[in-house]
């Protein structure tokens, strides 16, 4: 999450390029693939960030893994990133690209933490409500936290809607205990 400036520039360039050649969806799928491979393979990650391995070697490794599985444009992009010696930022670049893509497609990520497991119909219901609330397409990401004791927490970007019992208890406690200078 640090130093996103570099990632942002490269991702924006890739997006512009993809839009120009009309294959944003394809590029997005390619980036998702690159992201998942990088996150699951530690050796590949180590190789990518290592300053000892030569750019030539890195390019040949990436070609060997991805050439047949992704769009030639995306492959060219990978080669450019390595050539510019920014390959250590690769995972951030693809993540930012995914964010850009979501923004363009009007998709928003909503993280919901619940105290109990949700059934598929509850999940669907929740997604529909979120879509009505945000007026965007919603990608729901669920997590479980029994510590909430009940209710749920919905996080959209920076904003958190906390309807958990745990929070209510915290507020109740704060109000019953002597008020401090900030609870006027």
């Amino acid at each position: 999450m640090k130093n996103l400036r570099i990632a942002r520039r490269y991702a924006a360039a890739l997006m512009a390029y993809a839009e120009q050649s009309g294959n944003v969806d394809q590029t997005a799928r390619d980036c998702a693939l690159i992201d998942s491979v990088l996150s699951t393979s530690r050796p590949l990650r180590m190789l990518t960030v290592s300053p000892v391995v030569s750019p030539l070697k890195k390019t040949s490794v990436f070609k060997a893994i991805f050439a047949t599985r992704i769009n030639p444009h995306t492959m060219t992009f990978l080669e450019l990133v390595i050539h510019k010696q920014r390959e250590s930022h690769l995972s951030e670049i693809v993540q930012v690209f995914a964010n850009l893509r979501d923004a363009k497609a009007g998709i928003i990520n909503v993280d919901v933490t619940t105290a109990v497991e949700f059934t598929p119909s509850q999940e669907n219901d929740l997604r529909l409500r979120m879509e009505r609330f945000t007026e965007k397409k919603v990608r729901l990401r669920l997590a479980l936290d029994p510590g909430l004791k009940g209710g749920l927490i919905v996080q959209i970007g920076d904003r958190v809607l906390d309807a958990s019992i745990r929070r209510q208890l915290e507020i109740l406690k704060a109000r019953l205990v002597e008020p401090g200078p900030f609870s006027n």
């Binding site: 999450m1 904003r159 809607l161 906390d162 929070r167 209510q168 507020i171 401090g180 200078p181």
Partner: protein, 518 residues
């Protein structure tokens, strides 16, 4: 004694709980990217406002000072050791504020309004933002009422008015804090019934301690309590062990509290002790936020730091209630260098300065005020007529004395008028000496200076002058309270009163001279 039944209690609790079901707490969060040295960089918080308070885990608060492209820089008002990278940071939605109200009087608090005197929480009705834009020109009126410090040298020659900013500047250990404390102690009379009858408004005091030792602050509290001054004073302390952000905002908290009194039509006095340490704390904070350093490593807006603070001290127009906030900032110089960066900045902002010299202090002239280079740009407008009459010649006579001081060594080889001037000057200097914590009411100061400038002391030996003054006051208190009261109420010395005073002093001086010879 009424009884509370257990089912009453559970009933009340149930009602309280019932209301909570429908509430959803909404807040903005960010994540800590980097933490250290009292500064945190936070990712997210895209809606954060400048100077907004944000909450870190473990109840630590911070203030947003840097709004950058991809992160927010916050300074912490607590230990950064309890916060980790990746922790969630919540917006409070509130710009940094301070509780204000009469409940703050008599209390010792930190710059966030939290009590540190162990007497329980301070419950006020209002919160005022710490940073506030000063009022414009139209909302003000010129300073015209005196703020009596009780110190003869100050009230006579460098008078301070209500709504003025007067700088107290000098090296370490020259009596800067002493002047401020005496001024606070002297405001006691403004809260008495007599003052109200003389149409003198009460003055509420705020003492802001920045970067001082906690033991020093404790001593100050103790002294003010002893003199009965704590009832109308609030102390805001950000001591040396408090984080730099606390020390940096402390004077602003003082100003916020002072503005509360000012805006409600009352008069307030705020002492910033001292601004040098606040500048250093701000420098630390700025450098840690990676703002570019300027001269002496101070940030570029160090002038603005002090100017916006001091501009909040003002006298309001009558339409707005006629209240005032007087500021007494303190600056510590190094080796008497008033042309250093920070001192010159603050001198150019304030309406005058009281300059204290270590040389004078060490030779026994206390308060060690160098009247020659001390100035009050409000001057006579802040003096009662009586004082103007007696102190008018004081300045000139002292100036002439200083010029001739070098010739004092020639002793009897000088002409009569020079000798007379030297005698008069030396006695005036002796008269202006004053002990600590014994501020004088203005009518007594007038009597004392009247005696001095009208030559009643010219034949009294120097070492007897202190006794002379003491006994004059005893005499006035015993037999001539009408004179004192007349001066206090009319704020002037009419010709009749002057005559009376002259004859009283003549008789007293004759008796005194006799007692000296004996």
């Amino acid at each position: 004694m009424a009884e509370v039944r257990p089912d009453e209690v559970s009933d009340i609790l149930r009602k309280q709980l019932a209301g909570y079901e429908k509430e959803v707490d909404v807040y903005d969060v960010g994540t800590v990217l980097q933490i250290g040295d009292g500064v945190a960089r936070v990712y997210g918080l895209s809606n954060a406002m400048m100077s907004e308070l944000v909450e870190f885990p473990n109840g630590i608060f911070g203030m947003v000072l840097n709004l950058e492209e991809d992160n927010v820089g916050c300074i912490l008002f607590g230990e950064s050791s309890e916060i980790n990278e990746g922790d969630a940071v919540k917006r409070t939605g509130r710009v940094a504020s301070m509780p204000v109200g009469e409940q703050m009087l008599g209390r010792v608090v930190n710059p966030l309004g939290q009590p540190i005197d162990g007497r329980g929480p301070v419950r006020t009705e209002r919160l005022a933002p710490i940073e506030r834009k000063a009022l414009g020109v139209i909302q003000r009126q010129p300073v015209k009422e005196p703020l009596q410090t009780g110190i003869k040298a100050v009230d006579g020659m460098i008078p301070i008015g209500r709504g003025q900013r007067e700088l107290i500047i000098g090296d370490r250990q020259t009596g800067k804090t002493a002047i401020a404390l005496d001024t606070i102690i002297n405001q006691k009379y403004t809260h008495l019934e007599q003052a109200r009858q003389s149409r003198i408004k009460p003055v509420y005091c705020i003492y802001v301690a920045v970067g001082q030792k906690s033991s020093t602050v404790a001593q100050v509290v103790d002294k003010l309590k002893q003199e009965g001054a704590m009832e109308y004073t609030t102390i805001i302390a950000a001591t040396a062990s408090d984080p730099a952000p606390m020390q940096f905002i402390a004077p602003y908290s003082g100003a916020a509290l002072g503005e509360y009194f000012r805006d409600s039509g009352r008069d307030a006095l705020v002492v910033y002790d001292d601004l040098t340490k606040q500048a250093q704390a701000y420098r630390q904070v700025s450098l840690l936020l990676r703002r570019p350093p300027g001269r002496e490593a101070y940030p570029g807006d160090i002038f603005y730091l002090h100017s916006r603070l001091l501009e909040r001290a003002s006298k309001l127009s009558d339409e707005l209630g006629g209240g005032s906030l007087t500021a007494l900032p303190v600056i510590e110089t190094q080796a008497g260098d008033v042309s250093a960066y920070i001192p010159t900045n603050v001198i150019s902002i304030t309406d005058g300065q009281i300059y204290l010299e270590p040389g004078m202090f060490n030779s026994g002239i206390r308060p060690a005020i160098n009247v020659g280079i001390s100035v009050s740009r409000v001057g006579g407008n802040a003096q009662i007529k009586a004082m103007k009459k007696v102190a008018g010649r004081l300045r000139i006579e002292l100036a002439q004395y200083r010029e001739l001081e070098a010739f004092a060594k020639f002793g009897s080889d000088l002409d009569k008028s020079t000798l007379a001037q030297l005698r008069r000057g030396a006695r005036l200097v002796e008269l202006l000496k004053q002990g600590q914590f014994v501020p004088l009411p203005v009518e007594k100061q007038v009597v004392s200076l009247f005696a001095g400038t009208n030559g009643f002391l010219d034949d009294i030996p120097l070492e007897q002058i202190e006794r002379y003054e003491r006994e004059v006051f005893e005499l006035m208190d015993l037999k001539h309270t009408d004179v004192l009261r007349s001066i206090a109420e009319t704020r002037d010395i009419g010709d009749a009163v002057a005559e009376q005073l002259r004859s009283v002093l003549k008789d007293f001086t004759d008796t005194f001279k006799a007692s000296v010879k004996a």
